[in-house]
Amino acid sequence: MKSLKNHISLIIPLFAILFAVEFYLIIDRLIADYEVRLSSDYSIVVVSKKPLTLEELKVVDPGIQSMKEIDSTLIINRLKENSISVNYEELKEYLPHFYRVYLETLPSSQQLEELREKLSKVDGIERVETFRKTHRKIYHFLLFVKNISKLFLFIIFVTSVMLVFKQIEVWNLEHQERMYIMALFGAPLWMRNAILVKLSIIDTTVSTILVYITYSYLISSGSIVKLLGIEDLSIDPAQIAGDMLWLFGIGLFISMVNIIIVSSRQYRIATV
């Protein structure tokens, strides 16, 4: 019973760390997917006196993915809808060229401003409309979500590492006599700490499996996408399975670092 309690005392913080790390990885991937979608939907409008080619624009900024000319008939139709009395055929001759320019990734506000300035300097371009306000809202929201998940990860990580440290210290005290006796017979540090390493490996394995089971359930039931309100995006369960190796490594690394710290403070008397 005591042994089970000891295992649970390490499994809980390790589970919390690994759960938070996996949550961060999932959010990061979802945001990346979301960014791709946003960038495919998002475009800037360029107004030019002369026809433009994609190659010309790519020289200005390689991040430009594609461009599409906006049919001037659409603009004229809009004027017609507003009952503006002009000679539409004549107007068509004088209208500049309108282009919708698509980017490879969703730029930051600063990148967008730089792009606007660069495009404005291109010969023939009269106006660049970046829809800055809308972009800024979307971009800042994404940044907010990213930072929140980082903060969440950081808080859980620090708290849990402290709990792991405390539990390893408890183990250390429990096994102190054994380690002391081993030291008296010349056992090296790794041999004295073998029991702590063994317990850590067991508990990290259990925690990783629990995280996998939890996320598999949450993904299959659609709880995560529902919770985040992104039902149109999907999470690949295969990626979660792939992450488990990383999570096991992270859990083990944290445990080992704590064992090294705890054991470096132990048996000063036994080892002078």
Partner: protein, 225 residues
């Protein structure tokens, strides 16, 4: 006595707190193969002296050499190496409670890196020697005090140590168990020429081996012929 000295102390001072010496500027020498008793009143520093021999306490001043190793500035790795050549016996046995008798005896052999077969064979031989065959799979708390001390004795002998250090080895034992332990220590000294250093309140009257006797009083160590 032309044999090599395994323990050399020169102006040795031992203390737990600065300026409160337990052993003061004492010099002595223990040669290879000697059987040595260290006696003295309670609190005179007998166990403290023994602790300095296995590196649990560093000399505050003076020099202490154990098996050619200077103990004043000894590094943990060197100390671990030195301890592989020592067999230590305590009054409270210091057995690992969660381990069986067999595994306890095997400990120094495992540390020394012997193969499993060698460990098994040597452990079986030793348990027979200390008359504990059949109790290999017992846990220490399932044994009597005398039996536990015999396990500790077998563990101390397992790796054929150069020096056996015993701190009140019979302090908690009945007469029969005490006789067995003294017999084992004498045997190790006579047959294997192992140096034996025993801290005790009183020297057993019927000991058959020649021995050297150090007496500690008021921090000073005196050799009594």
């Amino acid at each position: 006595m032309g044999s090599k000295s395994v323990i050399i102390a020169k102006d040795l001072t031992l203390a737990y707190k600065p300026n409160v010496p337990i052993i003061r500027e004492s010099s002595f020498r223990i040669r290879s193969g000697e059987f040595v008793f260290i006696t003295g009143p309670s609190g005179s520093g007998k166990s403290t002296l023994l602790k300095s021999f296995y590196g649990e306490l560093r000399p505050q001043s003076g020099a202490l050499q154990i098996g050619g190793v200077m103990m004043e500035q000894i590094k943990p790795a060197k100390l671990a190496f030195l301890r592989k050549y020592l067999g230590i016996i305590f009054q409270d046995y210091k057995l690992i409670k969660e381990w069986t008798v067999k595994k306890n005896v095997m400990l120094p052999l495992l540390i020394a890196g012997y193969s499993k077969d060698v460990c098994e064979a040597q452990t079986a031989r030793l348990l027979k020697h200390v008359r504990l065959q059949g109790k290999e799979d017992y846990y220490p708390l399932e044994l009597s005090g005398g039996e536990q001390q015999r396990v500790a004795m077998a563990r101390a002998l397992a790796h054929n140590p150069v020096i056996i250090l015993a701190d009140e080895p019979t302090g908690n034992l009945d007469e029969y168990s005490s006789r067995v332990i003294w017999g084992l220590l004498e045997g190790a000294n006579e047959q294997l020429r192992t140096t034996v250093v025993v801290v005790t309140h009183s020297i057993p009257p019927n000991l058959e081996v020649p021995y050297k006797h150090f007496y500690i009083e008021e921090g000073k160590i005196y050799e009594i012929s």
